[in-house]
């Protein structure tokens, strides 16, 4: 009898414990006027780390905005983040966006990191008329006449052009003119769009020969053959796009093993995550450069300090910086629209021209304005270089936090 009573008591306690979250939900649910932002990024699969970093940036901006009284034009409305896992395929990313935007009223969205995912996710956002912000690079994202897509990064082809200009100039200044170049990387969308103009016209126009051109489908089984070619041809610069972390580590380890000294010029922010230091050590990374759409600039020390303190990350990079800026842009648009309605916010974003405040100061050249295609006006690539285990902005010179070193160690 006692035992039965004991079992009944345990059952009730367990039942209550299980039901508690459900019972509490109405009490904790956000008030109706809150502004909801969807964040669709990979939170599982091989790109999950990038999704995590993006989430950190968005959460930091939301904490700052809500902590300072929310959106004033909406009576102090708070911003709420609704995250959805884009996983590791376009199908998963699209279905995550459909779930996130379709289930409740979402005022704006951010995502989905990988260009191929963003192409799919922005189609959903366009159909459901929700303004969508992305850091993805591929040109095609804003070549489809969409009204609701806002691309904050310089597009890949423009990055290639600008980065090459910067590099040729720096190489000349260092008395190391570029005559031979190598193109080495995977065939993901952003890398393809960066390499295509280089291969087809830009390098030829500068009188530079392509001596190695090797592209693979991730994962890479072994990097020996590629690095062997680099050793044999000794290019003056290696354009490098290995977005999959294990592939990139293999290539870098082989470069060290084979003693290749050609300067490495990465294409994307994947090359400046803290995991690189932990996996291969700072010595192997020293002086490797990469082109990114955003990176902490001169005068942003306070922002970086707050980010490091909040997250425990050793430094801040493009991914959290961009989502931080995107949340602030949405906040500014909501202030002007005086509404949480996605269409009203879209109209406000289209008219936005910010030159001060956290959003504008986060992204070079300090201005937030989008053209009729949804591309950010004035967005230009930044060159970041690993120096003693930390990536610093080294070009353009007026935004740099360190001086660029041309030669590899």
């Amino acid at each position: 009898m006692k035992r039965t009573r004991f079992i009944v008591a345990v059952a009730i306690v367990v039942g209550l414990a299980l039901a508690a979250p459900a019972l509490l939900v109405p009490a904790l649910a956000p008030a109706a006027e809150d502004l909801k932002i969807a964040l669709v990024v990979p939170l599982s699969g091989r790109w999950a780390r990038q999704g995590q970093l993006k989430k950190m940036g968005a959460e930091m901006a939301i904490a700052e905005i809500n902590g300072a009284g929310g959106i004033k034009a909406l009576g102090g409305a708070k911003i709420v983040l609704r995250e959805a896992d884009a996983g590791d395929s376009v199908e998963k990313a699209v279905s995550a966006a459909q779930r996130a935007i379709g289930r409740e009223k979402i005022s704006a969205g951010i995502g989905a990191w990988l260009s191929s995912f963003t192409l799919g996710v922005t189609e959903v956002a366009e159909r459901l008329e929700v303004p969508w912000f992305t850091l993805s690079y591929a040109d095609s994202i804003t070549e489809r006449g969409f009204k609701y897509t806002f691309q904050s990064s310089p597009v890949s082809s423009f990055q290639a052009e600008q980065a090459l200009e910067l590099l040729v100039e720096i190489a000349k200044r260092n008395n190391q003119p570029i005559k031979k170049a190598a193109i080495v990387g995977d065939n993901t969308a952003a890398t393809v769009f960066f390499f295509k103009p280089l291969r087809e016209k830009l390098l030829r126009a500068k009188g530079i020969d392509v001596v190695v051109d090797e592209v693979w489908t991730p994962p890479l089984a072994d990097a020996t053959a590629i690095v062997q070619k680099l050793r044999a041809t000794q290019p003056d610069v290696v354009f490098y796009g290995a977005t999959n972390f294990p592939d990139s580590i293999q290539v870098l380890q082989k470069i060290k093993e084979f003693g290749v000294k050609s300067p490495i010029q990465g294409v994307g922010a994947w090359l400046v995550t803290p995991e690189y230091v932990k996996s291969v050590g700072p010595e192997l990374l020293d002086n490797i450069k990469t082109v990114v759409a955003a990176h902490p600039l001169k005068g942003q020390d306070e922002l970086v300090r707050r980010f490091k303190e909040r997250t425990g990350e050793p430094f801040m990079t493009q991914d959290p910086l961009m989502s931080y800026a995107h949340v602030w842009i949405i906040k500014e648009a909501a202030e002007r629209a005086k509404s949480t309605d996605p269409k009203a916010i879209r109209e406000a974003v289209a008219k936005l021209d910010l030159t001060s405040g956290p959003a504008a100061s986060a992204l070079a050249p300090g201005r937030i304005r989008y053209d009729e295609r949804g591309r950010r006006v004035g967005a230009a690539p930044i060159i970041v270089q690993w120096q003693k285990g930390e990536p610093f902005t080294v070009a353009p010179a007026e935004l740099a936090t360190r001086t660029l070193v041309w030669q590899m160690k």
Partner: protein
């Protein structure tokens, strides 16, 4: 292309293939004895990589030694998983239903292990920094990457140990008997279920050791298995389903073909060579390189 370059491609292929080979023999053993296609095999390899990583970063254990240290705990883990889960879907019963249940079970196990690891350890990639990952032994113009050379030798050693165990010990012979003719083995007093457990334990321990060796030069993340599981299956079928020497040879062949394919095809088609070789073997020798042809009576 010089002879030196060609030799480099061959050496690279064989060194990569050595670890594929060790990964594959565990799978072959489990299939050979239990007739179970273990989709979670790659996930146990991933767990082996993580344990080696934590031993290296937490206790300073060199990953080459770590690869041996993981063998006993993963053997026990394999025994436990067999007893708790797989023993319920192996043995007597309708073979078709059992096979369905095994597929669902191992696939489910794989999903659970990957996602639980992502939740517990985060998706952040980790790597063990070893000096030998970026150093090489130079033999004339050919470079032998040190990490891969050590991993290759260890793989050879472990595969040799398994071979001796299976052919020279009573338990090994009993295991093979249970694989070849379970019913007759039962009549001879061999506990077939215990043999299944043993095979699963050894199979998991081997793949965990392969994971430990892989961790000497390959980054670790919860989804790392995806990159290898297909190659493991190809190696096992290529070598002859269930054959241990066959799976070992299959692994080496895959590494070699992957590397030599680059002499004629661009990088983007690196695995095309592997699958062409696979189809050729299936066409010319359907029983696999080391498999035995079964004749209908």
């Amino acid at each position: 292309m010089s002879i030196g370059d060609l030799l480099q491609y061959v050496v690279t292929g064989l060194l990569v293939g050595g670890v594929y080979a060790l990964m594959s023999i565990g799978l072959a053993l489990i299939f050979g004895v239990m007739r179970v296609v273990n989709f979670a095999q790659g996930d146990f390899m991933m767990l082996g990589m993580y344990v080696t990583y934590f031993l290296a970063t937490g206790y300073g254990v060199d990953p080459l030694l770590g690869a041996l240290v993981v063998i006993p705990p993963f053997f026990l883990l394999g025994l436990g998983v067999h007893r708790a889960l797989l023993s319920r879907v192996t043995g007597g019963g309708d073979p078709q239903r059992l096979m369905d249940a095994q597929l669902i079970l191992t696939l489910g196990l794989s999903l659970i292990i990957t996602n639980a690891t992502t939740m517990l350890l985060t998706p952040m990639p980790r790597g063990i920094k070893t000096a030998y990952a970026t150093q090489a032994f130079a033999v004339g113009p050919v470079l032998f990457n040190q990490a891969r050379s050590y991993a290759f030798l260890m793989a050879l050693l472990l595969a040799g140990a398994v071979y001796v165990f299976l052919t020279r010990t009573d338990v090994g012979k009993a295991l093979r008997a249970a694989a070849d003719e379970p019913e007759a083995a039962g009549y001879q007093g061999i506990d077939v279920r215990a043999m299944h457990g043993l095979a699963f334990g050894v199979g998991i321990a081997l793949v965990a050791a392969a994971g430990g060796l892989l961790a000497t030069y390959h980054p670790i993340e919860p989804t790392v298995a995806v990159n290898f599981i297909v190659l493991m299956f190809v190696a096992v079928v290529l070598g002859g389903l269930g054959s241990i020497p066959g799976a070992f040879a299959g692994g080496l062949v895959i590494g070699l073909v992957q590397s030599l394919t680059l002499l004629v095809l661009p990088f983007q088609l690196q695995n095309v060579g592997v699958f062409i070789a696979f189809l050729l073997v299936l066409y010319l020798r359907p029983q696999g390189l080391f498999g035995q042809r079964l004749r209908a009576v």
